[in-house]
């Protein structure tokens, strides 16, 4: 048995900004002999590893490549180079209401998502009541998800993700919504999951709760790893940097 849950080596991902996503656009740019796409490096030589049972945070500004990193980890996007080893089942919770189908009811969405993660029928029936209970959506469970508020969607998404028997849970910004009580409940659940030996990878803007949940953190800036280390150290560093930049800006302004 390996000790690592996730090993990422020299991961690089370029995005092409298509100028025009039609055949017409393609031929026009072909005739004009212009470059058909602009390249943009979202991830640049990213390497890190996460141990089993560890809680790992990824912090960085908007556009630093956090979401791209998450999407490559969950298999939605293929990297251009480098490799990712994942030992165990991954439950990605990307953005709010990840993987929820708007026209389906909450109940149908629970079944659909469980099936997506490969749970069989009996197992789905087993976890279904637990998911409903945790989400506190009993009243609205037979309402199509399109009528849900963003907080309700986040609750449903989070409840599903923690009940699908995954070994590794990826959580991206989801907890920005939802009321205070539910947030508290989520953090408590995350701690519980961590203590039960699951691996958590969290991207969040609210840094405060991360100190409690996570063991280590990675600072990402413009697709590059700045530093990896102990959580409190990293958060302090990140915040100091921010303050420094702000101070510099203010100086310039003055």
């Amino acid at each position: 048995m390996t000790m690592e849950a996730i090993v990422v080596n020299n991961l690089t991902k370029h995005f092409r900004k298509a100028y025009d996503k039609t055949l017409k656009g393609y031929f026009i740019s072909l005739i004009k002999r212009e470059k058909r796409y602009k390249e943009f490096t979202a991830l640049n030589d990213v390497s890190f590893s996460i141990k089993k049972g560890e809680s790992f945070a990824i912090i960085g500004k908007n556009g630093a490549g956090k979401s791209t990193l998450f999407k490559t980890l969950s298999g939605i996007i293929y990297p251009d180079s480098g490799d990712i080893q994942i030992n165990g089942k991954v439950a990605p919770l990307i953005e709010l209401g990840a993987g929820l189908s708007r026209d389906l009811t909450g109940a149908e969405n629970i079944r659909l998502n469980c099936a997506i993660f490969g749970l069989d029928k009996e197992r789905i029936e087993e976890v279904y009541p637990k998911i409903v209970e945790f989400s506190e959506l009993e009243e609205f469970i037979h309402t199509p998800v399109k009528f849900y508020s963003s907080g309700m969607k986040a609750r449903l998404g989070f409840s599903i993700a923690i009940h699908i028997d995954a070994d590794i849970i990826l959580i991206d910004e989801v907890l920005a919504v939802g009321d205070k009580d539910f947030k508290k409940k989520c953090y408590a659940k995350m701690e519980e999951l961590r203590d039960s030996g699951k691996t958590l990878v969290i991207v969040s803007h609210s840094l405060k709760p991360l100190r409690k949940i996570c063991d280590r953190a990675l600072i990402l800036e413009r697709g590059k790893v700045v530093e990896i280390g102990e959580i409190n150290e990293m958060i302090d560093k990140y915040q100091d940097e921010k303050k420094e930049k702000k101070a510099k800006k203010n100086k310039k302004g003055a």
Binding site: G75, Y78, L100, S101, D103, A115, G118
Partner: protein, 270 residues
């Protein structure tokens, strides 16, 4: 591929079930539209081609009794193909919310599309047999016994093309419009409103000369196989049946390879 799909059979069942249920949601006749749609088309084509254009009369010489039944027996497999291709182009681009958020084998989407259309097609084809029994058209049971094989051949052909168009449509939405246009013309290149003997037993020198070209279209051959259940001499020559099986496998392999190759970038483009 099949191992992957078996692993996700629960998901496949769920998606097919959802697809079939959503299709006729909020419609008064519900599932009956599966039968009403081809019946309605049958009435239209019979009026136009039998009463107005008199294809019926010249078909009499080619031994086509119950022209409307002939139209229906070709129209239903065609509708299966037509609807599958239309849905097929959107199989991936219509599921972007799922594709962007979670990973699972994306070949599930074209397969779901095929299966949900198959659920509609089979009762519709049973209708053809029922109508044939009612009007007293002889049924060739040895051909009817081969019906599962015909359906399989058509399904593989559809799936191969669906792999191709679904993934291409993610990159170029034009594929959707091109497919819809091609389907229009394609229908007239299949023996649906005219008997196949118009081509195989024609006195017109030009048609004789280009007969082989006509049968390069595997859908013409596949439709003719369905006709053979009710009408003798309406099946394409055997060598073309063999050719169609070959081309179907080729289309399937090409579709699969292209799908696998382009699939890598679907997550970021969609």
């Amino acid at each position: 591929m099949f191992a992957d799909i078996m692993k996700y059979k629960e998901l496949l069942y769920f998606l097919v079930h959802k697809e079939v249920r959503i299709r006729y949601r909020n419609s008064f006749f519900g599932f009956f539209w599966t039968l009403l749609e081809p019946l309605g088309l049958m009435v239209i084509y019979t009026i136009v081609f039998s009463l107005i254009l008199n294809v019926d009369d010249s078909a009499k010489g080619q031994n086509i009794d119950h022209y409307f039944l002939y139209v229906l027996s070709g129209l239903i497999p065609w509708t299966f193909f037509n609807n599958s291709m239309k849905k097929g182009t959107k199989a991936l681009s219509g599921s972007s919310s799922l594709i962007k958020k979670v990973y699972f084998p994306r070949e599930i989407f074209p397969v779901t599309m095929l299966l949900s259309n198959l659920v509609n097609f089979i009762p519709a084809f049973a209708l053809v047999i029922a109508v044939a029994l009612i009007v007293g058209q002889p049924i060739y049971w040895d051909q009817l016994a081969l019906l599962p094989a015909f359906i399989l051949l058509q399904s593989v052909f559809i799936l191969g093309l669906a792999f191709l168009v679904s993934v291409l449509n993610v990159f170029y939405r034009d594929v959707e419009f091109i497919t819809n246009l091609l389907l229009r013309g394609w229908m007239y290149l299949c023996p649906i409103i005219y008997p196949i003997s118009f081509v195989t037993e024609s006195n017109n020198a030009m048609i004789q000369q280009f007969e082989w070209l006509y049968f390069l279209n595997p859908m013409a051959v596949i439709i003719s196989l369905y006709h053979g259940i009710l009408y003798q001499g309406q099946t394409a020559p055997l060598e073309y049946v063999g050719y169609s099986i070959g081309i179907t496998l080729l289309v399937f392999i090409i579709g699969w390879v292209v799908f696998k190759r382009l699939n890598r970038r679907v997550g970021e483009v969609i």
